[in-house]
Point group: D2
Chain length 152, copies 4
């Protein structure tokens, strides 16, 4: 099983079948072990500060956590044998999880589209560490963060 179709399949799963991703509208745009990207659009439901009209910090944390989890998961998927069945892949991924997450809020979350990218900083057979950033459509840095993930 070549990696790309498999990653495509997992992307669809992440977009369509994870309830909290759907609630926020998080969408996987890139999914690889070196860089992953997640995008979502402004919607009134995501507001945390009403007088100032800015995103809830929890939305930002969710997008960063998801994006960091993606690069970590991609690193796991790349190590699986080619003949791993989709069910086995999903079982394997479902055992991954966030150990800890740090989010630094740099600017108020204002914009139309928010793009989160993640890079793998440390990749191991047990733990992966990713660094994440979130920009808006004007390429303003809104937040960055670091996530440590259990992968094995």
């Amino acid at each position: 099983m070549p990696t790309s179709p498999l990653l495509d399949q997992i992307s669809r799963l992440m977009n369509e079948q994870i309830p909290f991703h759907r609630l926020i509208g998080l969408e996987v745009k890139r999914f690889a072990s070196d860089i992953s990207e997640v995008q979502f659009h402004w919607q009134a439901d995501l507001i945390g500060n009403v007088p100032q009209g800015i995103l809830h910090g929890g939305v930002t944390a969710t997008a960063l956590d998801m994006c960091g989890g993606l690069v970590a998961i991609a690193g796991v998927v790349e190590t699986l044998p080619d003949d791993t069945s989709p069910d086995e892949v999903i079982q394997r991924i479902s055992r991954c999880g966030t150990i800890d997450l740090r989010v630094d809020y740099v600017r108020p979350g204002r914009g139309k589209t928010f793009i989160t990218t993640a890079h793998t900083i440390r990749s191991g057979n047990k733990v992966a560490v990713a660094r994440m950033e979130m920009h808006n459509e004007d390429n303003m840095l809104i937040a960055f963060g670091t996530g440590t993930y259990m992968v094995g």
Copy 2:
């Protein structure tokens, strides 16, 4: 204006008028500068790991961030003069915000009701630091965290 009715009023505002709190079902149960408490109930929309049926880490991060923000805000409100108008209070609060957040995920987010508590660790006229914990209805520790908030 005595502090308690004011805090009650802000609680209602937090529960009813902040869109992302309503989306998740976050509800303020206690709101004071020494300890604040936020609660929410399990719902399928909050799932992040489908095969294992556990909460999305972003939901946990949102609840911890909100709860830490509450103790920080309560500290601000307590310093306001008695005759501060509700509008001024809201303006004052709307300038507060999370600087950074760390979440440590201890156990899978499973349960019927999730209770988040926050304590103020450092309280200043510019920055407040809070420590937060999330338990389920069986008092199992699911996550803890630390938040640094701009308050002045």
Copy 3:
């Protein structure tokens, strides 16, 4: 090999044979998987802020990291078979390491004696998470932190 003598032996090793611990004067006072304690005394060499006469933040970070590492290591040692040789124990411990560390500085580092305690929050066969605090001899909280450690 009973655990206590082994932990005593490792304590002596930590105090006497780790160069950076000796430089700062860090001393293991308790060493167990539920709670560990590290102590050091004020000395002019540890100053980071000269006009105010307060400890360098790096000294505090070092003490917290060491203390968190101790509870993590104690958890590992407890799982070793009774007949593990001291050399094997040391080899096993030397493969443990800090993945990430967060330190929150609450009050200026002033005092005569600084006591750091660590509790295990998450204990696994790969990763352990500890929560740490540092007080001075008047029981004033100076800093707290969280450490994630690779243990297997």
Copy 4:
């Protein structure tokens, strides 16, 4: 007073008069509000893991914290009026301090020379946030981190 000579003067102070910097051998190489750099050389006193011969994590934390503090301080110094006296500058700086620090350990601390760089991510009149990295002389990334600093 032009900024550069003032920053030069503070650099010397940081190198020569802060006891814990001297103990570790930390030396300011660049000192500006956009990027600062700190360097130190391997010495046996800095070892934390004897069997593996690697730096103590507290040494790394100290270097990252110092370097992040430098960019934060440089941001403060740049806002001071030209005729600020050196004494006033030192008093002003001595009121700055680390609020919180996160360190991510990526590779074992091995090398001859360790170079830490810091960039300002958020600069305000109350709080500054910096991102830091530490490489060895072969440009291997050993650790990175984030620091939040009180600056006003």
